[in-house]
Subunit: 340 residues, 2 copies
């Protein structure tokens, strides 16, 4: 059977069956974005990797190599941050066509090193190989205190849903890079804001570490697939449902402006757009408001309550201002009738 | 400038300049096969990765997916073993064409998991992406006591050169997979031996750990590029020269038989063939013979003295039985006149 018929998650499940039982030091293995391994009583080691393929994950004609380097670093840093962890060391694997320009790699490496350095993570090695297509595979490790580790499986009914920053901006940026005409019709400041969100997202590393140490955070994930899909991962692993309040989703003016010009619904982008690299947290109700305040004070990053986790039987819903509820599905493009 | 004009090592050096100075915990960074990071007084963390590209590093028509999985694991395990380390955890990145057969990956994962398990290393995560070409990138970490860490830069003039196992067998296996007619002309037992060496090499993990703990080993490397090139890496980093004794290079009868049938020089294969995944050690002269004996007793793996390190001014030479010396270059195919 071709893997295209099988799909990614069934394939991972299928391959995982060949792995023998884990040794005692493996806290989290295959299945999460980040593996967790016990180093000693005070430290867990975090391991993650992300593979970026030219023409699949990035289009060399719309992202500069410097931006690409930063983004690849950010994607991995975001995963470590979402576990409450501190990134420490990275290896970079490059598969490169022989006619790759060295200057392209100069700029990419510069971006990558800068972004890593911003979070005190060192690139300590890597590997290069010849290939038909450019592929960049980054391995990043980090550390976290066992007390501060954030996983996806601890959310309980009643816990609040908190997100950092703003949603949908990366999707707005994508709309602009795919449609230069649209870009030409919008004010430069708004263009800049959403392009920045799409091309050089900010990983919420300090925010994740703060949340892990704060107490009361029962689950966390970074928003790479889109809020609806990613909050769904917490629901899956915590066996809870969720209610998100449509009017509370944080969407910036620039994102709204791009959506309007594109004839799109900004709420749709906020829920399903993906690549926001914000954090989504499950927080005990008595700690939620204080976390929002303390996080803003400590990191300068806004956060807000956008919903609550509910018993699994209550399902996953989006609540409209007038109180009506719609079912929330991970892939809203086809199945979720946002306007009904 | 295209990277094909620049070459791999100049490109690595060029990109490394964009990295800021390392933090204090980095013992070895970019430039080695394995990075070394301090965990605490008793432990260093080892990090390595190796990218294997279909059509470049392996030919799907001559290696079964099960063999490929084992070999990919072995290549990385060998790197950790050569540092004196114990492999612990791996991530697997797969770039896959959509028409990849799931059954191919089943077999590959089985081989990979089996080989990892043989050395008590757990596959704890990974990543998948769509691509035009199959690429497997394995990330392996391990641990070593600081006292047992083997690097490339400690060899001193007078230290003995020791290799484990046998040389050239992988190259003999390659000759057979590339030429089915040659294979048909040879006895099956000899065919099996060299094919095994080429398709499912044995990483010298226990041997590396034993050597690291034994004392007196001043440098080590695993033989992936071929003895001449790899001993050259020790020479480069230790700033020494080397003399290898042609008659002492361990070459098995099966390798000799294949070489003879192929009209090739088995000594050439032993020096330049590559992919033997044996260990090459620099050992203090007073410890050399006892290490050879103790290693064989502890691990069952033969090892022997094949030369000595000399002052850097004395250069790198191959010593013939009658005492004549030829210069030893890493790429002997063109420049090294083995028969003169």
């Amino acid at each position: 059977m071709h893997i295209s018929e099988l799909g990614e998650f069934p394939l991972i499940a299928r391959l995982t069956q060949y792995l023998p039982p884990y040794l005692a030091d493996v806290v989290r293995g295959v299945g999460d974005d980040v593996a967790v391994v016990r180093l000693d009583d005070a430290r867990y080691l975090l391991l993650t990797c992300d593979i970026q393929v030219a023409g699949v994950h990035f289009l060399p004609q719309v992202i500069t190599p410097y931006q690409l380097g930063r983004k690849i670093a950010a994607i991995n840093l975001s995963d470590i941050g979402a576990m409450g962890g501190r990134p420490t060391h990275a290896l970079v694997s490059l598969a490169l066509p022989p006619d790759t320009e060295a200057e392209y790699l100069d700029a990419m490496y510069q971006g990558l090193a800068e972004e890593m350095n911003r979070y005190q993570a060192d690139v300590v090695g890597g590997n290069m190989a010849r290939a038909d297509q450019m592929i960049i595979d980054l391995f990043l490790i980090g550390e976290v205190s066992p007390d501060h580790l954030l996983l996806r499986n601890g959310a309980r009914p009643g816990d609040q849903v908190i997100v950092t920053g703003h949603l949908g901006a990366s999707r707005a940026g994508l709309a602009l890079v795919l449609d230069p005409d649209l870009r030409a019709r919008l004010p430069e400041a708004q263009v800049e804001a959403v392009l920045r969100a799409h091309l050089t997202p900010t990983p919420r590393v300090a925010e994740g570490q703060f949340a892990g140490a704060f107490g009361g955070v029962t689950a966390a994930i970074d928003l790479s697939d889109g809020l609806a899909a990613d909050v769904g991962h917490i629901c899956d692993e915590s066996e809870v449902g969720v209610r998100l309040f449509a009017q509370d989703l944080p969407v910036e003016e620039s994102t709204r402006a791009v959506a309007q010009a594109a004839g799109a619904d900004p709420l749709h982008w906020a829920l399903f757009g993906g690549e926001d690299y914000e954090l989504c947290l499950a927080v005990a109700p008595e700690r939620a408001e204080s976390l929002v305040e303390a996080l803003a004070e400590a990191t300068g990053t806004p956060a807000r309550v956008i919903g609550e986790f509910v018993p699994v039987q209550a399902g996953r819903t989006l609540v409209w201002p007038e109180g009506r509820e719609s079912p929330l599905t991970p892939r809203g493009w086809d199945h979720f009738r946002i306007q009904d």
